[in-house]
Subunit: 457 residues, 2 copies
């Protein structure tokens, strides 16, 4: 993500690959791969971030010319935060409301040229500009990250709409996708990558902090001061974060596997797994981004004074990871989707394994402190807590509290569900490598993650 071409690969090319017809992939993806064109992905607008359905940019079909007319009706519809558009991009994928004969079909994706590939001058009708520097000096190395795009009646051929799922014919007929949420796969993928990145960034910060605190000395000792890592206040801050980094990494591997199964299914027009993988990626995205960005800053502070030097290398990790709390779905907004999924599972008693705990009875016996380290007890604890919170939320809603009033209950449900998923992945990993000499170490990481969550809650 931190090279000027990061989003060209991770957003532009991958969206074309996932959402384009074979013909479109042959044309655009191949050109993008050999860098004949450079692209980015324009979804968020100045006034429309969380509410994607409310995007204002339109793509109006003109049957006479077989074209779409891309238009931003006002400044609030300016595409904003479009990373990579600053210098290099010649094309962008635009999320716009598809309009045919005055009827809106909701947001769809269109490839729009924005700059000449020859001299990089903006195309007619396209305004591009810098939205300025980011918080904490983040993404300063990346083509300045984000730009504003406005379109004034920009015409593109009909074939520039990405038509793998939904299609528009030359005579203006709209052919919907087999499943209306088939195009969600791409957004799920971005969240899966964010979860994985949480582990990488946190692991880096913990590594830097642990190494520095081992070398750095302060106070005590007859001839040489004590290593800072020897202080319990430093251990209590860093070591649980080390366990968390491993836990997130392992959980993200399971998430990749689930996403792989989903992708295979979607290829066959089967969207059965989509709700579960969507909810799982949302829950983990919220939990892991918060855990990782808070954890990186904890590491930075554990470095003491020198953590405030940019040369410690930790602040850059925070600066570039912390926006993930708000991008690709603000964590608090996503938590509502997680809660909705679980409430639905509670009612429908479906067979998604991640929600099957809703059917179990709600008693866990913790007979001693040692019992707390029994994996089955650990798992039951998280299942029980999450199930109780989901049921309580369901009762609250049944008693008449409006949805807009239960944000914090959704947030609690999200955290409890995510923590269950994390502990479940860790327990699964410990089980499958039972005979390996790594198993006892993994078990300790699991226990530390588990105990740390217990202390925080």
């Amino acid at each position: 993500m931190l090279t000027p071409l990061g989003l060209h690969y991770s957003a532009f090319m991958s969206v074309i690959e996932a959402q384009g017809t074979q013909e479109q992939v042959d044309k655009w993806y191949v050109a993008a791969k050999r860098h004949a064109i450079i692209g980015c992905y324009a979804q968020t607008e100045l006034s429309h971030g969380s509410n994607v359905a409310g995007l204002k940019t339109v793509a109006v079909f003109d049957a006479k010319t077989d074209e779409f007319v891309i238009h931003s009706p006002d400044l609030t519809a300016a595409k904003w935060w479009v990373g990579g558009l600053g210098i290099a991009s010649t094309h962008t994928v635009v999320q716009a409301q598809l309009i045919i004969a005055n009827k809106s079909y909701g947001p769809h994706l269109f490839i729009v040229p924005v700059r000449s590939p020859v001299d990089l001058k903006p195309c007619p009708g396209v305004t591009v500009g810098d939205i300025g520097p980011k918080a904490y000096g983040g993404f300063a190395t990346v083509d300045n990250g984000c730009k504003v795009v406005l379109f004034e009646h920009v015409r593109i051929p009909r074939n520039n709409m990405l038509m793998k799922f939904a299609r528009v014919t030359s005579d203006g007929r709209y052919l919907p996708p087999v499943h209306d949420k088939l195009s969600y796969g791409g957004m799920v993928k971005l969240r899966v990558d964010i979860v994985n990145d949480a582990a990488i960034k946190l692991a880096k910060a913990v590594t830097i902090a642990s190494r520095y605190c081992t070398v750095r000395r302060q106070f005590g000792g007859p001839t040489i001061e004590h290593q800072v890592i020897s202080y319990s206040s430093v251990q209590h801050r860093l070591i649980p974060l080390l366990a968390t980094a491993y836990s997130i990494w392992i959980t993200s591997q399971d998430l990749y596997e689930q996403f792989g199964q989903l992708t295979e299914q979607l290829e066959k027009n089967n969207a059965h797994l989509l709700p579960e993988v969507h909810a799982t990626s949302c829950a983990l995205k919220s939990w892991c981004t918060r855990q990782s960005s808070d954890g990186i800053e904890t590491c930075r502070k554990a470095l003491g004074g020198h953590g405030y030097s940019i040369f410690s290398g930790v602040s850059e990790l925070f600066a570039t990871y912390v926006p993930s709390n708000t991008y690709e779905g603000d964590n608090y907004v996503l938590s509502q989707q997680v809660a909705r999924f679980l409430l639905k599972q509670l009612k429908e008693s479906s067979n998604f394994s991640s929600a099957s705990y809703l059917k179990k009875d709600e008693t866990v016996k913790v007979e001693s402190a040692k019992t707390l380290l029994d994996p089955q007890v650990q798992l039951r604890l998280y299942q029980t807590r999450a199930a109780r919170l989901v049921k309580r939320l369901s009762q609250q809603l049944a008693s008449g509290r409006p949805w807009s009033d239960v944000n914090m209950e959704c947030w609690e449900v999200n955290l409890a569900h995510a923590e269950y998923l994390i502990v479940r992945s860790m327990i699964h990993r410990v089980t499958v490598i039972e005979s390996s000499e790594l198993a006892p170490i993994m078990k300790r990481l699991l226990d530390l993650t588990h105990l740390d969550i217990q202390i925080v809650n």
Copy 2:
């Protein structure tokens, strides 16, 4: 603090005023006031931050020439993080080990010229250099904040030692201060200012976030989307922080008052209040800096995507306030001093009002949720919790656990004591303005602070 001359006023001039003789004040403070000289304050060394007693820079008295020789024995003794030294400073106050006839008398303060006031070239034997940019782009507007200073046998007149308390005569006699901790007043003052600054910075962030979330709309509404502030997840994040900002501000006013009394006493060579004001400033500094910097980042995230633009104005607040967690005493290190003070009070049953709760009995009756809002119950809750933690720590130590092992217990004691002080100040303020129409509003801020602490704990 954010102008290139900030530390000239707040550190250089104020230290001379507090620690200089009348003659020294007449000479240096007056010159500094009319900017004939520009100063800074050089205490921390590359390898010696928390451990001030372990500073390596020496000031060796040479009776033959009536001079001190300021010397950095090696690179680890290089003065580091000296804010304001980058461009403008001609002088610095150096904290150095006073050595007379091979005997060390511990750290003392010396005024050392570092650059010619005429052409700003470094003085002979003085090396100055930039230590580079800071985390999160913080302090980028301030003369780059911090520089490195190395001294190679730099000679200064004997009268450049700040001699209000300790003195060195021309024949090399050391005259100690009446109380060995009289010179601590200046460091306490810096912490008092930091506590006050916590309120200002947090209040700014909450104001920006609340206003933005009132204007910003997202989702719902028949014709116009809902104000973001109307969502309970936003209210739950911002409104307790609003109460916290007021609570810290009010507590800091009480702290200024206590510091004023201390200063008056110190002028009369009476250091009786010093241990209490020192412990109070340490406890509050740890709690308030953490609360404020975490809170600012919570505000930034509550701004959603646009919070990540530098133009939101919030990230700069975090970038410049967050190092206060580690400077002027790392929070975790300071917590040990707070715990030491309280353990001493537990044994000595002294009459410091901030620790008198240690003598009370430890039962609080909370009969109903409503009782929780009774100020006397609130106060007793915090007293009881803090007292229990102090006693438990005392027992742990009595049972043989070494001091280095109980860092986290000290940290808990620090937080509990600080929270007691905060709630006590708020209750006091509500009581004194009882007849004012502001009183019910202040009571609600008190209750919200109190309940927020209860939820976090």
